[in-house]
């Protein structure tokens, strides 16, 4: 039999390829438009930058069966309450510093990056910083001079990336804001720092 069946012919599959690609792209574009609205800063899932003026907890949601951020009463970062513009400027500088220092090639952020150092998604809430009232200063001090504070018995250390105090404070602001993003329960089973009620 010389005649190729329709389902095995090049022309059928060429058309199939074009249609499948087109439909998938259109679906992706619509989903993206919806998602981008839902993850804009100030949305329910990704809070406004002024969230750094508040206490942030990570609590288990019985209905979703995952942990989710809970925004609490005012608890300004470094004791300074920032307006929307100032808060955005601080987080912006923090994020720029995170990129400029190439943090993502050792750490993961939202689980993406390298695996040589701990995930930073909920770093703000990690018990390792000790008490909640010392955390901000601990984080800044660590970033300014991390080389002799290994946090582990492996001998793995963070190099001194020569951050200025302003940059270290901005990174702290960025990390606090990031911890308030609803990540559908990632990282799983996170043990949050104890914060006094």
């Amino acid at each position: 039999m010389d005649q190729t069946a329709w389902w095995a012919s090049g022309s059928f599959w060429r058309k199939a390829a074009i249609w499948v690609t087109g439909v998938s792209m259109v679906a992706l574009v619509f989903l993206s438009l919806d998602s981008l609205v839902k993850i804009s800063a100030g949305s329910q899932r990704v809070p406004a930058y002024t969230v750094i003026n508040h206490r942030i907890d990570y609590v288990f949601n019985e209905e979703r069966r995952v942990q989710q951020p809970q925004i609490g009463p005012e608890q300004p970062l470094f004791g300074r309450k920032l307006d929307a513009e100032q808060a955005e400027a601080l987080v912006r500088q923090g994020k720029l510093t995170v990129q400029a220092k190439n943090c993502m090639d050792c750490h993961t952020l939202l689980g993406n990056g390298a695996y040589f150092a701990p995930d930073l998604t909920k770093a703000w809430l990690d018990p390792l910083w000790g008490a909640a009232n010392e955390r901000e200063q601990q984080m800044v001090d660590f970033m300014l001079d991390p080389t002799d504070k290994p946090h582990n018995v492996l001998g793995r250390r963070m190099p001194n990336l020569h951050l200025t105090r302003d940059e270290a404070q901005a990174v702290t602001g960025f990390l606090k804001w990031m911890s308030a993003i609803d990540t559908n329960g990632f990282p799983y089973n996170f043990t949050s720092m104890k914060q006094e009620n």
Binding site: A8, G10, W13, R14, A16, A17, T21, S24, M25, L28, S32, S35, L36, K38, I39, S40, R45, V46, Y49, Q93, K95, T97, V98, Q99, A100, K101, N102, M104, D105, C106, L109, L110, G111, N112, A114, Y115, F116, P118, D126, P127, T147, H151, N152, V153, L154, G155, R157, L161, L163, E167, M178, I181, D182, T183, N184, F186, P187, Y188, N189, T191
Partner: protein
């Protein structure tokens, strides 16, 4: 006319001469990838190694950037390699193409030097423009992004215009449309935003829609040509398979993007969409393997270039295993919640990049060397039983499989101890990192990495010497 078995550029057409330059650059960057990978791997075991001089972040950045660029160089080279034969027309802007190659190579050299010597900058926009963008895989500073875009535009013009002026085959159609998508997507990674969820949303458009969609289709088109060259497979058959693969690849891969949107702040509906479509992603890879095996069978494995053909078969299976099986293993959100951002990802990444892409480039290096020596014999009964290509093939593949399994073991330990049991805190992270099983995995990764380096050395030696003093011409294939 050079004698058979001697290296002579006169054996190549214009596009192929240009391809050779891209292949050479690819080879250098492949070596850099291995070197910096070895150092980064050693730093897991010896944290003080080069501490404060060449830190892990820098080595890892060079390791993965060299990977991306050497694979791209290989692809660009392979497209130039097949362009004139496929279009039956000389490359339209060859001079410009050559000029752009040198510009591209210079940009790469400057970027790497800045990575190594300047390393990081202060937290301001200038750093992102001049030193590093600090976003995994696309760390290149913005000035280099713009230079890369300009370079690829010239490349795209050369491809599209040459096919348009010459013969526009099915392979040509897929290549041209795919390249538009591939290079267009790069633009999605060229902006700064403070909102990290939005940042990673678009970042994945570049990374995922490259490696799990447009790159896969690109190597599909390149392999279609490779199968015609090595096996004498019929155009009608390889082109139909190519369309099948495009339909399945884009049908699963475009919305499969959703598996990167599980945990970055994006809505919960991505858990279902991403889980479903990424579960389908292995299907085109099965089709590719079936295609390669089927074609080989119909030709009774008779082929014109044994090393190249072996690497093509390695590509079919490597793609299926590395991208398909290893990807599927942790793609459903129910398991990805535990494995995301652990050594599982490293395990999958290593085998997928190597199996799907590196193998195809190596196959084309062999096709290039065969033609460069005047279409010499590279079939069976090679001098010394072809031990060099066989050993390098074995060492590279076993090295990669070994690394993959070793990293997977480390990944099991990490996801279990750190995530499932430990509470995902920093102390749980370090607890898992220090566990003897994790450490064993990391040790074995390094050992198999050394095997790969040995395989690479042999590969280079073989590529430079295969076919030397060969008196037989390339085997002629009767059509199946």
């Amino acid at each position: 006319m050079a004698a058979l078995g001697e290296i002579s550029l006169s054996n190549l057409n214009g596009g192929q001469k240009l391809a050779l330059k891209y292949y050479a650059l690819a080879g250098v960057l492949f070596a850099a990838q291995l070197l910096f990978g070895l150092i980064a791997g050693l730093q897991y075991l010896m944290p003080d190694l080069l501490f404060g001089v060449l830190d892990f972040s820098i080595n890892r950045m060079v390791h993965i950037n060299a990977l991306v660029v050497w694979l791209l160089c290989g692809f660009i080279g392979s497209v130039y390699w097949l362009l004139e034969e496929e279009a039956q027309h000389p490359v339209v802007g060859l001079k410009l193409g050559n000029l752009v190659f040198w510009a591209f190579a210079s940009v790469v050299a400057v970027v790497v030097l800045v990575y190594l010597l300047v390393q990081t900058g202060s937290g301001e926009a200038a750093t992102i423009w001049l030193i590093t963008e600090g976003r995994e895989y696309i760390e290149a500073p913005r000035w280099a992004d713009i230079a890369i875009v300009a370079s690829v535009l010239v490349f795209f013009y050369n491809v599209a215009a040459t096919f348009t002026k010459g013969r526009f085959t099915g392979i040509a159609g897929v290549l041209v449309l795919d390249l538009i998508a591939l290079f267009g997507l790069y633009l999605a990674g060229m902006f700064y935003t403070t909102n990290i969820s939005v940042d990673q949303f678009w970042w994945w458009w570049v990374i995922h829609l490259w490696v799990e969609a447009t790159w896969e289709v690109l190597v599909g088109a390149i392999l279609a040509y490779g199968l015609m060259k090595t096996l004498g497979a019929r155009r009608e058959i390889v082109e139909t398979w190519l369309y099948v693969e495009v339909a399945l690849m884009f049908g699963s891969g475009i919305l499969g993007l959703g598996h990167h949107y599980f945990w970055i702040g994006t809505p919960e509906y991505w858990l279902s969409i991403g889980g479903f479509f990424s579960a389908l992603e292995p299907i085109p890879l099965v089709a590719m393997t079936v295609h390669a095996v089927y074609d080989s069978g119909t030709h009774r494995m008779r082929n014109t270039n044994h090393p190249a053909f072996a690497w093509i078969i390695a590509a079919a299976f490597g793609n299926f295993l590395g991208a398909g099986v290893w990807g599927f293993m942790h793609t459903l959100p129910q398991i990805n919640l535990f494995t995301h951002g652990t050594q599982w990802t490293a395990s999958h990444g290593h085998l997928a990049f190597f199996g799907a892409f590196a193998t195809v480039n190596i196959a084309f290096f062999y096709l290039a060397m065969q033609k460069l020596r005047g279409d010499v014999w590279m079939g069976g009964a090679l001098p010394d039983h072809g031990w060099k290509w066989k050993w390098s093939f074995g060492l590279l593949n076993i090295g990669m499989l070994g690394m993959t399994v070793a990293l997977l073991v480390a990944g099991y330990v990490q996801s279990h101890l750190e995530r499932a049991i430990g509470g995902s805190s920093w102390s749980a992270y370090f607890e898992a990192q220090g566990h003897p099983w994790f450490q064993q995995g990391i040790w074995w990764r390094e050992v198999f990495g050394v095997l790969m380096v040995a395989g690479f050395g042999l590969l280079v030696w073989d590529l430079l010497t295969a076919g030397r003093r060969e008196a037989r011409v390339i085997e002629s294939l009767s059509p199946a």
